[in-house]
């Protein structure tokens, strides 16, 4: 289906060339499409990759935790605490592993790795709740894996909060439990809300940055660049013609990702679809500019690939905030994260797609991306050599 779609576009381009006096430019794009269509394996990977990634991240690699074993230190042993324990155990996130009265004994459980989290219910829990409308619980988590610990703590807090709401449905509960802000927009704590924007950023970066860098460098490696340079074609045209096919491919990829995440992962699109596409195209342009910049600075496909992966891909995964929360990073790394385009795109997509925000909410991030795009394209064109060496 997608192939069909691309062929229409392609035919449209061919037709345009007849009407347009920019025949040179169109022919160049047509040639780029030939390259892409004829390398079936790569085309398949480019179009299939977003689906595979969505499925991998959406289901397999999610940081949702299911049936985590927990321990209870129940010093109260009253009706309410029993109910609370039952409710936690009944949830799909937790499974009761041990119940004890002795707070000391849980350390052994943590050390053995039998449990990741423990809930301490103090002796006067029920009376304190009944009399002072105030009960305190302690959550102890194994923070050797901070991501899991944070997630579990969040889950447990939510369950406790729900439990209290059920207990006193008409009362406002202003205290004791801290709720992570992320959960405001993600009440079910679904990992997909984080991963969909993340995967979008990653796929676009791979397709645009790496593939464009490779396609330009390939011309150099095969020696074709020599002929292109000797011809009267303007270098800017070479650069733009290289970028156009990947822009189109990427729009297809965005569509695939959005369709999959909407229908399969059930992630809502709360904001404007047009704004989402516009922002995505902006990010594509940033990535394309980056790819062209890399290609101007490298001479072999190997080093172009290496730079794309090491310089762009890893920082994107690390610093865009979709796997590791930026707020938790040390300050210098937080500063570094600002130069990663994916970070801004990630914020934009989350705001538009999940929070339902408009351009007013994301104009700053958009502006950052526009500046980056201008910079990358400007540098790429400036650095593009009109001669060899």
């Amino acid at each position: 289906m997608q192939l069909q779609w691309m062929k229409y576009l392609f035919n449209w381009l061919v037709k345009q060339k007849e009407a347009n006096n920019m025949k040179q430019f169109y022919q160049f794009i047509v040639k780029e499409f030939y390259h892409i269509f004829r390398d079936r394996k790569t085309l398949f990977i480019l179009l299939g990759m977003p689906m595979v990634q969505i499925i991998i991240f959406g289901f397999a690699l999610t940081n949702e935790v299911k049936n985590a074993r927990f321990a209870i230190v129940n010093q109260s042993s009253d009706e309410i605490s029993t109910k609370l324990i039952q409710q936690i155990d009944a949830s799909r996130y937790f499974e009761l592993y041990a119940e004890t009265k002795d707070p000391q004994s849980i350390e052994a459980l943590f050390k053995k790795g039998s449990v990741k989290i423990a809930l301490v219910i103090p002796p006067d829990f029920e009376t304190s709740l009944a009399n002072q409308n105030k009960g305190s619980l302690q959550i102890i988590a194994d923070a050797s894996d901070p991501n899991v610990a944070t997630t579990l703590t969040n889950y447990l807090s939510v369950i406790v909060q729900n439990f209290r709401e059920d207990l006193y449905p008409n009362q406002a509960i202003p205290y004791t439990i801290k709720v992570d802000t992320r959960m405001m927009y993600n009440p079910q704590l679904k990992g997909a809300y984080n991963f969909v924007p993340g995967v979008m950023a990653m796929v676009l970066l791979l397709v645009c940055t790496m593939m464009t860098a490779l396609t330009v460098v390939r011309e150099k490696e095969l020696g074709n660049m020599e002929i292109l340079l000797v011809s009267p074609i303007n270098p800017i045209k070479i650069i733009l013609a290289k970028a156009v096919p990947y822009l189109l491919l990427s729009i297809i990829n965005i569509t695939t990702i959005l369709l999959l995440s909407y229908y399969v992962l059930e992630v809502p699109i709360n904001g404007s679809l047009i704004l989402l596409y516009a922002e995505s195209i902006l990010f594509i342009l940033v990535s394309l500019g980056l790819g062209l910049l890399i290609s101007a600075a490298t001479d072999s496909q190997q080093s172009a690939m290496f730079i794309s992966l090491i310089v762009m891909f890893l920082p994107t995964v690390m610093f865009s905030g979709f796997i590791f929360p930026i707020e938790n990073m040390p300050l210098p790394l937080q500063v570094v994260s600002n130069i990663i385009p994916a970070k801004w795109f990630f914020i934009i997509v989350k705001s538009v797609m999940i929070k339902g925000g408009g351009i007013l909410l994301v104009w700053k991030e958009t502006l950052v991306l526009i500046i980056m795009m201008t910079l990358f394209f400007g540098l790429a064109i400036k650095k593009f050599k009109i001669r060899l060496a």
């Binding site: 025949k23 390259h35 004829r38 074709n224 020599e226 002929i227 000797v230 011809s231 009267p232 060496a389």
Partner: protein, 306 residues
Amino acid sequence: MEKLSSKPAGVIIEGVSKSYTVNKEKLVAVNNISFEVPAGTLFGLIGPDGAGKTTLFRMLTTLLLPDSGNIWVDGLNAVADYKALRKKIGYMPGKFSLYTDLTIQENIHFFASLFETSFDKNYDLIKEIYEQIAPFKDRRAGQLSGGMKQKLALCCALIHRPSILFLDEPTTGVDAVSRKEFWEILQRLKTDGITILVSTPYMDEASLCDRVALIQNGKIMQIDTPQHIVDHFDKPLYAVKSPKMLPLLKMLENDAAVLDIYPFGEVHHMVLKSKDSKVNLPEDATMQVIKPNIEDLFIYLMRNHE
């Protein structure tokens, strides 16, 4: 609009040098070269790999800037007027530089549009070459044999009707028959008024050029017509032959009268120190005076330079 210029058509090279830095060592690729190629002639640049042929060609085709010296191609300065010049020259680099995943036809059409012209417009120029590969026009360039690839590359280099054609080692790795055909094509293109500069490591191809330059280690050793160039060989040259060629070679290498001896096809070529030198030939060996060819001269010049 063409720039008016006092320089005539053809190629003029004045004191051109180019060096690279490899691993912090300076490597002189082209060392103060000067020569002229009159318009409408077929000029051969003959020398082994690493002699500086490709570097010189890249400077002539505006791909590299010379460190010093001046280059005019078809009346235009190769540095200052590079944009205008790029419209007028055709270039076939040493490496096979077509798109292997495009067909013959797609390659030609692409290069035509690159030069803002069309296949039909200049078909008459490439007709003869194109007809030889036309039966395979829908085959991808990557699947063509060496000789056909080379003809396709030539079509692509000619499609915009250049006034000067630069061919960098077009016959390297190509078999003797295809090479011969290729040179026949070049002779015909010359009659169309195109100036052709061609480089080759095959010495025997020199005789097919109007003028040749012998290049070695970045320097021009000799430049003249193929007929005149061998006149620079001023020592007596003989062909020697015997049933046992290898022992003959070993023996004559140590002969005091022999300046140089080397195998040359079925015979050995022997250079004597002077006409009066006496050589001790084994009984079964024969020797006769021969005329030197370009390869003899090249070897002679190389030995002198050492």
